[in-house]
Amino acid sequence: GDSWGIFTFLCAALCNLPALPALNCTEELGAGQSIQKTYDLTRYLEHQLRTLAGTYLNYLGPPFNEPDFNPPRLARVERVPSATVDLDLWRGLTDNARLAANYRAYSRLLCYLRALDGQAATAELRHRLGHFCSSLQGLVLSIAGVMSSLGYPLPVGPAGPSAPPGTAGAPNDFLKKMDDFWLLKELQTWLWRSAKDFNRLKKKVPPAVVTLRLEARGF
């Protein structure tokens, strides 16, 4: 069993991450429970992000920290993954597609955030960003765990942008700040969307189904 091996590894990895809500690796996590825990993680991250975004936008200064700030979206070469989706399309997503979209998005967002962390000017920002990145990494692994336990393959391909932004990125300070602003906005929207994604998954995947699946595959 490849899937079982991956699942155990992920579980061990998850358990070793600091500052995460406790995950008991000894109990057998049915997909239903994993989905619930992933859902809880998105809520936790959403709350964390509010504080982080407030601090970061204040650091960027006006107009980025103004509540009415509503800039137009500039066409940039490397775009942060967007949660925006056609309503009917979103409804019709298969479980696999739904999970894969979340996995891909957070993998890339994590990469962007890590780049942000690397450039953060103040100790407070570095501390907050570092803490948030750890939690976000936990979310990525949690989603991978759910996919694995349901027998879905993990999406392949680059986990993040080919070159981290900021190196080959915005030519000037203001555009760089705009990129940061949109990154935080997309991240926030993704967390709201994920709560809804995992709600849908919760209803559709009862734990009993998963146990049967694993048994059928001879584990």
């Binding site: 137009p72 967007s82 949660a83 925006t84 989706v85 056609d86 309503l87 709201w192 709560a195 849908r200």
Partner: protein, 335 residues
């Protein structure tokens, strides 16, 4: 031919009698009543500092022939003040609606124009038949990071005014209050009340977009509410009610993750179950007959006065005892 003329409150109005010369002899009437010559400047009618009462039909007749030379309908009003605009999504994720009104009346007809811009796209807000000052929009995309900008312009003959709202998709989510709230006593449990309710019917998809609920309750005799937040389920049992006291109960709803709480539901009243005093026989469900509410001094032989829910608190017991004593007294008298 007839005209309509709109003028501001407090303005000075000069009306000309059509094509008549200034020095022609004319008579003006307001709603059929002759107007005194002091208001005339030649054949022009001068109204100074007009007020709302001066709205009406003004007619000008040639002096000798009494031909109608000119007629106009004067409407006195005000230009619109900044309108009040509100947008809300009570049917997420289907869409949202916006509704508006003027803070003060203008007394003349107004027209409203609403525009909704999402990023670079202009969206059409479909006007509702009822209520009138309302329109709705269907979401095409969900989980948008781009804000919606709604501009309402109100225009009338005397001026225009507009207001703009800018918001995120998530910020305006506010469900309608829960429906069919029911509170019942629990038999043989003097401190319990069973409350149940339903999702608001306007919320289209509670499966994927579950609601959480907030229950508040207090006995009528106290001012302070008790609160319970419930993350799922549409029922709850209160277990710390004061025995025999009538309670008022309300429920509110909110999307589990986004937006704001709904308004409170319609209030329901309930009193916990109380044990019937043993020496008086009672029936489980006594229908309220008219004899219970007549002014007859002699209490009826059944315990209608002691019907649960009819009286509050320990007073119920006192009345029952009084009824028993009176019955006993009458019984003794007739022996």
């Amino acid at each position: 031919d007839s005209h309509i003329q709109y003028e501001r409150v407090g303005a000075d109005v000069t009306m000309k009698c059509g094509s008549m010369d200034w020095d022609a002899a004319v008579t003006w009437t307001a709603n059929g009543t002759d107007i005194d010559e002091s208001h005339l400047n030649g054949s022009y009618l001068i109204l100074k500092n007009v007020d709302l009462t001066q709205s009406g039909q003004y007619s000008c007749y040639e002096g000798s022939s009494w031909h109608l030379k000119y007629q106009t309908y004067l409407r006195v009003g005000t230009p619109p003040k900044e309108p009040v605009l509100m947008c809300r999504s009570n049917n997420y994720p289907k869409g949202f609606y916006c509704s508006w009104h003027l803070p003060t009346p203008t007394y003349i007809p107004n027209s409203f124009n609403i525009s909704v811009i999402h990023g670079t796209r202009e969206m059409v807000c479909e006007k509702d038949v009822f209520p009138k000052n309302r329109c709705h929009i269907r979401y095409v995309q969900l989980f948008s990071t781009v804000k919606y900008k709604v501009t309402l312009t109100v225009t009338n003959a005397l001026g225009k005014s507009s207001t703009t709202l800018t918001f995120d998709e998530f910020a305006i989510v506010k469900p309608d209050p829960p429906e069919s709230v029911v509170a019942k006593p629990v038999p043989n449990n003097p401190r319990r009340l069973e409350v149940s309710w339903q999702n608001p019917s306007s919320w289209p998809d509670p499966e994927s977009f579950p609601l959480k609920f907030f229950l508040r309750y207090r006995p009528l005799i106290l001012d302070q509410w008790q609160h319970v937040e419930l993350s799922d389920g549409t029922s709850h049992t209160i277990t710390d009610a004061y025995a025999g006291k009538e309670y008022i109960i309300q429920v509110a709803a909110k999307d589990n993750d986004i937006g704001t709480w709904s308004d409170w539901s319609v209030a329901v009243h309930a009193t916990p179950w109380t044990e019937e005093p043993k020496h008086l026989t009672t029936e489980a469900q006594i229908t309220e007959t008219t004899s219970a509410s007549t002014s007859s001094f002699m209490p009826p032989p059944t315990t209608k006065i002691c019907d649960k829910g009819a009286v509050v608190g320990s007073g119920a017991v006192a009345v029952c005892w009084t009824a028993g004593l009176v019955l006993a007294a009458y019984g003794v008298l007739f022996i």
